[in-house]
């Protein structure tokens, strides 16, 4: 206790000297420590399963659902889409490292030339447009299916998001994502952190709130409430609506920065998408 007060003071001291931010790795380790203390019985990798890490009855239903995973069709359809060549004869495989197989652990990344965060979904559309195809709609549909297939081929890989400290743009994007995460929005005045840090594990009505740690590992997700597979940014939009804020556009700078921050926080956890959630 004394120690934590001391370290709080130290952190406070650092903040007052450098009002910018602690580094990404310090943030991640602090997050890991916070949730490990809050959920001492949950093994680290289990945080990738969201509320099923600590809600036993929800977990049982989820495991049952995984017998016939509702996202399976999306993986199959996504594979067909992924492997179908564009009109110019090229395909998605030509746009990505390793032919696009097992690469999701590297997304999002900061594109220093473009000066922006590139999510997997954005990269898929950039690939299409570079090959003369129309961009697909974000959040649901074919794009989510392609992402589901790419996530599937990346299962088991450890998240390895890079925020190069010698890249001011990358650090700024990460910091902006962090700020967004802690910023109160909407008429109900919640920040992401209000629910997913301060209240992680508690119930809103019958639903237990997930931890920030592991929140980015399992996308896209087939959510029973949606009745379809959707991307992480669809969930951002939904969270914003739930606090009575008008959602921002999918792949807006803010949402991409947020995804960058959240993904970095889950570094070291194994990817486990696509997944099902209720």
């Amino acid at each position: 206790m004394k120690k934590s007060i001391l370290s709080l003071c130290l952190i406070g001291g650092i903040f007052s000297v450098l009002p910018a931010v602690a580094g990404p790795e310090e943030d991640r380790l602090a997050m890991v420590k916070y949730y490990s203390d809050r959920f001492p019985d949950v093994p680290m990798q289990e945080f990738a399963n969201g509320l099923y890490a600590f809600d036993q009855s929800a977990r049982e239903q989820w495991i049952e659902m995984e017998d016939f995973p509702p996202y399976e069709i999306a993986i199959d359809d996504g594979q067909v889409l992924f492997e179908t060549p564009f009109a110019n004869g090229k395909s998605y495989a030509d746009c990505f490292d390793n032919g696009g197989i097992g690469v999701k652990q590297d997304y999002p990344y900061f594109d220093a030339d473009a000066g922006e965060v590139v999510t997997l979904e954005l990269a898929i559309n950039q690939c299409r447009e570079a090959n003369g195809e129309k961009a697909l709609a974000y959040m649901i549909g074919e794009l989510a299916e392609i992402a589901a297939y790419m996530a599937y081929t990346s299962r088991g890989n450890e998240f390895a998001i890079q925020v190069p400290l010698d890249s001011p743009g990358a650090v700024a994007a990460y910091s902006a994502g962090k700020q967004f995460f802690y910023t109160r929005r909407g008429q109900l005045n919640f920040a992401c952190s209000s629910c997913h840090i301060q209240s992680a594990g508690l119930n809103l009505r019958a639903d237990r709130l997930s931890t920030t740690l592991g929140q980015a590992t399992h996308w896209p997700v087939y959510r029973s409430k949606w009745g379809e597979i959707g991307t992480i940014q669809k969930r951002f939009a939904e969270c914003n609506s739930q606090v009575w804020a008008k959602p921002l556009e999918a792949q807006s700078v803010e949402y991409r920065n947020l995804e960058y921050f959240l993904s970095y926080i889950s570094n070291g956890l194994e990817l486990n998408g696509p997944a099902s959630r209720r």
């Binding site: 910023t183 109160r184 008429q187 920040a191 840090i197 609506s241 008008k246």
Partner: protein
């Protein structure tokens, strides 16, 4: 000086107390035009949008306001537009204050 504050506070308290009554609609005066009220709401909404923080019900209020006006329910129309304006102003205030205050939410 202090007496002045107390006096002011009491005055405000009475105003606030009156606010508890159903009608706190400062637009009730017939001299306020719908067009002006609506334009003020639109302007406030544009500022909130520029701050990237629009509340989810505000645009709907503005639409309802327009419908009310089209249907000749002028008092409703003005009241709805005022509500939209106040929401947009509060959203902007929230965005501006959170530019600094977000750090209060960082617990570790």
């Amino acid at each position: 000086m202090i007496g002045k504050y107390v006096f002011l506070a009491m005055g405000l308290a009475i105003v606030a107390g009156c606010g508890l009554q159903p009608s706190r609609d400062r637009s009730a005066s017939p001299t306020v035009s719908f067009a002006e009220t609506y334009a003020a709401a639109e302007a406030a909404l544009a500022k909130a949008a520029a701050s990237r923080n629009v509340w989810s019900k505000t645009e709907g209020l503005l639409q309802q306001s327009k419908i009310a006006n089209d249907e000749g329910r002028k008092e409703d129309a003005i009241q709805l537009a005022n509500e939209a304006r106040m929401q947009a102003e509060l959203a902007l205030t929230q965005a501006i204050s959170q530019e600094k205050d977000w750090q209060e939410n960082v617990l570790f």
